[in-house]
Symmetry: D2
Subunit: 494 residues, 4 copies
């Protein structure tokens, strides 16, 4: 199961930045509805704001209709709104803000007019040279109305367009100037374009339904709208879709395979389990994580259970490998939503209790292995362990299907400051005591590539070894103390 | 897991009428917050409207503050609203309308002034003599401002109060006039009263937290607010809670045990699995249902899976009994909400597809046993079976953890007209063909009492044999053709 | 001009309780739309809540559709809502709460089911025996869900219906038990009924448009929907409208003419100037008030101006009588609405200043006579006088087109507690000093009947002489200290 | 009175584009509240969207907080929102869209980051070379996210900033490239800047309150917040306000006085009557218009009345000049708002009737002179004339306090297409017949300069003689057929 739903009851979770969805239907002009359902399938990738922009390639050039708002897809869009948005090409976006503050102005897609008409642009990932690029642009008189990377990207596309024969050439040229993570979908008046950074940090794939092509973050969005998976966009690839030529590819930014650096957390946590990224099943990689935990951190017990929903697949893997029966131990309240009133500190109800309950029958008198995907601050884990004990579990063994978090992410994942990470400056035994478990095991670092059959990955958040140097300045205006951090990194290495 | 969440993606589900929650805190005057979280835990019992009424027993007699609205608990109430509602006693209600139309006027609790001050009243269940009682009242000059049974009950309490020494006596006298299902919580200026019909159709239990007593529909609401279960209110019992005497019981409406008639669907589907009703664990009864299915409808297969969330527990039971591995086969979109825009008939996206996806890795090449709690109209089942086949399942065997629905319910469950029930006038083989399964098995009728260790149950919806004669007239104004129906019932008996 | 608009910028104004509108269209079933515009024309009579109830006399008996909400007519109703409300008969209501607190539950019309089907009822005025009547009902087992008089009236109609041949007979019998002010419109399944108390406190009139009859508070509502005035409903009259017999009258509650007691403030302030009440033009009576002021409180000046909007007509009258030129001296901000944020006490902007500005050109160097309809607390008057002086007026003479307020109203007008009235225990010279005027004149008490050509009026709020004894108990639970008040009344008489 | 309120009941009215308000308070950081009330006073200048941006000059450079939304000032802003916006400098804007479509994206102020930090910019007026300027910018790689002129202006400021020592120098340089109408307020991190085009089309003035300076569209906004008028910003002037130097002026864009071209419609209709523009009282100019009408189009009558609110001042002037008594003849419903449901064509209620009623007493048996400020399409005038006759007026003489509209406006007023103008290709006698008046008189063209004591004005909408050549292309993408129009203009000249 997908663990992003975790957000809803667990403030102590990581957050993905964004999901993107673009479609070009050569036969119909109602793509807004497909984008709506596509975004709905990607909702776990961002719950703060969303938007849709569509255009009619047969209509006057550059007439892009867009609608954006704060909130979930089904809160922002109404039937009336969708029905007004006629078009055969369009892009959509769901957002959780990492870079750029959480305001309506920063919602995507970004719709812009430039010398050649109108573009709509949706972006997932964090650039590490956004601040630099922005300064450069400002010194030529550029103005910025948002604080999102996408505006910087858009500017570069517009500038490169002056020296490019085609919009896809301009997109390619612009991408060469970007450093960091970007999975990009662009709708121009007559073309749908996808671009993915050379490291392939974030997923991006192509699908097809009748005479419509889709470029989107995850394959689950293809399933949802009844489309078939065609292929992933490769790291460093720019893809252009037109009625004349179908899918045309430019591979001009590729790097040697070993320099690719997929975000491993997409597999462990972010992506929906029914998605496939670069050929690997997310679900299968989680089952594997569970199996590895069973091999590397075995323990005698009567029941393996997952913290819903994110721990379930790894729990199943652990059970399959260990032979210890799998079972459900928790009931989650399905109605927790954005407007849910959190219990006060002083109240007798706790946030965790209100959202999660234990099935006494399932755990009473049993030694329980409880699998979760990660521990960030650790503020929730101790409560859940206690709930299991209160319900009669005789032992509680915690297994985590990822290594301990130790470092910030610069590429699009919102990890709290190091000081707030439970694993920072603490041994595993320390953590075990804090959360009150009988034993605690994390996934071994070397297991990570095995989860994805050896695909090159980024494990910066576990090791501090990033595929490219982190930025010294943040587009958001927070300056990053590189020296101090470097020192810390070196000192804290095992 | 609880299957009421099903509602969200499955219009083809049954609906419970209501959940009730009352609390009297001898020490504090912030019960509104506890009612909020209690209702939140009962949300699966009703999603159309909700309300809270509180009073301060130390304040001027009869000053009852109430707030009600259409929508979910977290949509209707804001922090500001809750903070305004000071009181040490109060009741709350969540509602899905079966009797009485779905309007704000019909939201509960019902707050009323009468000769002795103010009462707030929350009711779960359907009376079968409501229309009769109402006519009688009207002939003495009564006026009605809603179309809910609760107003009829309130009137009788007010009238009986004139001849009663205490309000609990009045509640008891009023209850003696009611026929049908009622689990009732009443907050009077100085007392919290619970009453349950002699058949015990619907659950009602007592909990305690420090110096506060709670009367509510399900034990999960007690867990959620950190209270301990004290005991169930017995069928036919009226219970009064005061600071002076704690819990005081009247058992004057009890009937011989064999005339009790608990709604078996509370165990199979309505209640949350972490609740206990009359001493029986809902979760355990579902595990049992799965085990019975494995014994009575065995089949060779590679995987047992549940239709989320409602089928999961029975699937686990089937797996435990049969030894066939349990696994997750579906990913459900957690963001489907009340404002979700349903795909048009003509659209390429279907409602089921948008809400549910299959994990190909989990089912590919496998013979799958798929467990669901019921089939009502059958409009969803065929799509889910097809999705499993499309994902590569080689066989799909469907097992249903209840017998086939054949009859209406008069006691608080919203079952569609007989003509719309898939099992009506069809053999199991007919149904199997319609839903496209390789085999189909229902839970045997005689297994039902075994699910709950022999507690007397109502199985009217499966057999047409009701514990009391159905009404000839409906309070809602729909007249019921008893003759015609009786004929049908006799003719259709096997 | 109508002064209720005053509310918007002047918290220091009186408030009318309600406006009612009923219609029976023998030819069409879209009366909801006409009620909407009728209520819109009556909006000045109540801005807190509003509601519409309609029924189709050709449909099943007793199917009354209603919709109510807090706010203005154009805030509560949408096109969609109106279009759903099919019916050929219906009533509407706008409310400013005097009796009964300001909640959604207390919004009208009251829709009720009783022995003969459904009734919808809208009421303007305050009963003085409501508490008494309610106690009596409670002692026969009645329950109350609101705190408005209308529920008491409804109960009596329901009870009397048991002994009456017709609904209009029941309404008549019920009215005989009521004391105080009531202008009532009732829609039964097949009849539209209007009733007015014997004193005729509040207005009620009949209009006609094609084959539709209307009963409403003010004639301006007739003009708005394109209907013609037929006649006023007489004090003590019950009128029934049916397709068979048109307008049929019962005059059985009439009292000797001299006991009639129209609320004079309807003419001075509440009603719209384009309305006629009992044959007298509201506008004309205000012009007269101005003329009387000119005769009784003459002063030399260069300009007569009204405090918008309520003072304009009297200012015109003063100008016509005195020959001193009339002119506009103020600009009012038309955008002040219910959600307007009031300036904080500490802020440099004041509420009056934000809402009202002076036309310097109009007043500079001039001796100004400023006419207002009343001074309640006096908190606004001093600011306006100061604004005129700041703008260059050399003298400011204030004339008030009503006598000083000294007593509470028990019949439907919300007058603040005596202690807050500026005229309480103060001489006119005291008041003049407080508001900073060069001279101050009020309308003479004996002029009041002359405003309305000798119609018998109630002047209780000026004299403390009420047409019937005030109640000793308030339905709202505030007990009124009759003795103490009587003493005060006697002592304070001139 | 101000006639913009007309909008509310009269779709047949002209619309102003915008109002601007900037403030720099050297002593306090709560300017958001003053901007709120300032915009509230300017609401008549734009009702579609509004926004506020504030900054703290003592805080980190470039931290600009902004909030914008569709709707009226009191609909968009809440107390909570305002309280969050700390700052000592800021700008606000109300907008009615003429150029740029009516969307949230186009709401102002425009907040932008550029090389020197952050700017907030509010603009009133229409550029005629916006499309040209935008093309030029696009050819250097600029991107545009809105369709408003302000973005073009912002870009130029940002570009010029690279070669300017100060931001005010950059604003001045940018302004030199602009053609058309602009009254501009800019808040930079440390300076408040105002700029007005050399023709002075739109008003812009300076005020002071304690240690705070204000730059705003109309003086009425100064009165509202308790500030004193300092002086108008002169046509062609750029003004900079800082704590160090107070008001510093650059007059470098001035043109010979005779080339100035104030929009005369600001005096006739747009501005609030309590405002002064360039030394002239708006109210006084309307009184004069009425006097001129009395001189140029005299007629015998019994009553002069204005169509509320816009016609009242001219009516007073007509009365003063002619000696015919002035009186109120109409009652306007004050509750017409944005969400008001308009009567259907088929309904028996008309829009005019619902919003306006005649005081029969005032007009019955009288010869009435009815003054309005303009006739645009004429769709309302005929109904009002008819209403007067229905109320008993024996004659209705219409006088219009402006000449007939014949030409489009390119400088910020939204005039319908020529074909829709009632005066297009029609004689005054034709129009008189259409509206059903007994006589009709317009203000003479040569009277216009006399209204404002000889200030140079733009009368392009009456004569087609514009102070500068109209654009051939519209930024909105509507291409304007210059040839065809020129031909028409020449042919249609008298």
């Amino acid at each position: 199961m997908n663990e992003l739903y975790n957000n809803l009851y667990d403030e102590d979770a990581l957050h993905e930045e964004c999901g993107v969805f673009g479609i070009y239907d050569f036969d119909a002009n109602d793509v807004a509805s497909s984008i709506y359902y596509g975004l709905f399938a990607l909702q776990h990738r961002g719950q703060e704001s969303c938007g849709i922009a569509v255009s009619d390639t047969q209509g006057p050039k550059g007439n892009m209709l867009s609608y954006k708002g704060m909130g979930l897809v089904n809160e922002v869009f109404t039937t009336e709104q969708l029905e007004k948005m006629h078009g055969d090409i369009g892009v959509g976006h769901v957002r959780y803000s990492t870079a750029g503050s959480s305001t309506r102005e920063n919602a995507q897609p970004l719709v812009l007019n430039y010398v050649k008409g109108t573009l709509a642009l949706a972006h997932n990932g964090n650039l590490i040279n956004a601040a630099e690029l922005r300064h450069d642009l400002e010194y030529t008189g550029a103005i910025f109305q948002t604080t999102i990377d996408s505006e910087v990207i858009a500017y570069h596309i517009a500038r490169e367009r002056l020296n490019s024969k085609t919009v896809e050439e301009a997109v390619g040229r612009a991408c060469r100037k970007l450093k960091g993570a970007y999975s990009l979908v662009v709708a121009s008046p007559r073309k749908l374009i996808g671009a993915r950074d050379p490291q392939g940090f974030k997923p991006l794939c192509i699908g097809k339904r009748d005479n419509a092509y889709i470029i989107t973050s995850e394959t689950c969005a293809l399933d949802t709208i009844g489309a078939t998976f065609v292929r992933d966009i490769k790291p460093g690839e720019v893809v252009t879709i037109t009625p004349e030529n179908g899918i045309v590819s430019n591979l001009d930014m590729t790097v040697p395979k070993e320099q690719e650096a997929r975000c491993i957390f997409e597999y462990i946590y972010f992506a929906r389990p029914d998605s496939h990224i670069d050929g690997e099943s997310v679900y299968a990689s989680r089952i594997k994580a569970g199996r590895f935990l069973a091999q590397d951190s075995p323990v005698e017990a009567d029941l393996v259970t997952g913290v819903p929903e994110s721990g379930n697949a790894a729990a199943l893997g652990y059970s399959l490998e260990s032979g210890i029966p799998y079972g459900t131990a928790f009931v989650k309240n399905a109605y927790v939503g954005r407007t849910f009133i959190k219990p006060k500190q002083s109240a007798r109800e706790s946030s965790v209790q209100v959202k999660l309950n234990v099935l006494k029958e399932a755990v009473q008198g049993k030694r329980v292995i409880m699998i979760d995907d990660s521990i960030v601050r650790g503020t929730t884990s101790d409560r859940i362990v206690k709930m299991l004990r209160d319900a009669g579990a005789t032992e509680v063994h915690v297994r985590i299907s990822s290594p301990p978090f130790l470092w910030p992410c610069y590429f699009g994942t919102d990890i709290p400051a190091r000081e707030q990470l439970i694993a920072y400056n603490r041994s595993i035994e320390d953590i075990r005591q804090i959360i009150g478990a009988d034993s605690l095991g994390y996934l071994e670092l070397e297991r990570l590539p095995q989860l994805v059959n050896g695909l090159p990955i980024c494990n910066g958040c576990f090791t501090g070894n990033y595929p490219m140097d982190p930025p010294t300045e943040d587009i958001r205006g927070d300056y990053y103390d590189k020296e101090a951090d470097l020192e810390k990194r070196i000192l804290s290495r095992p």
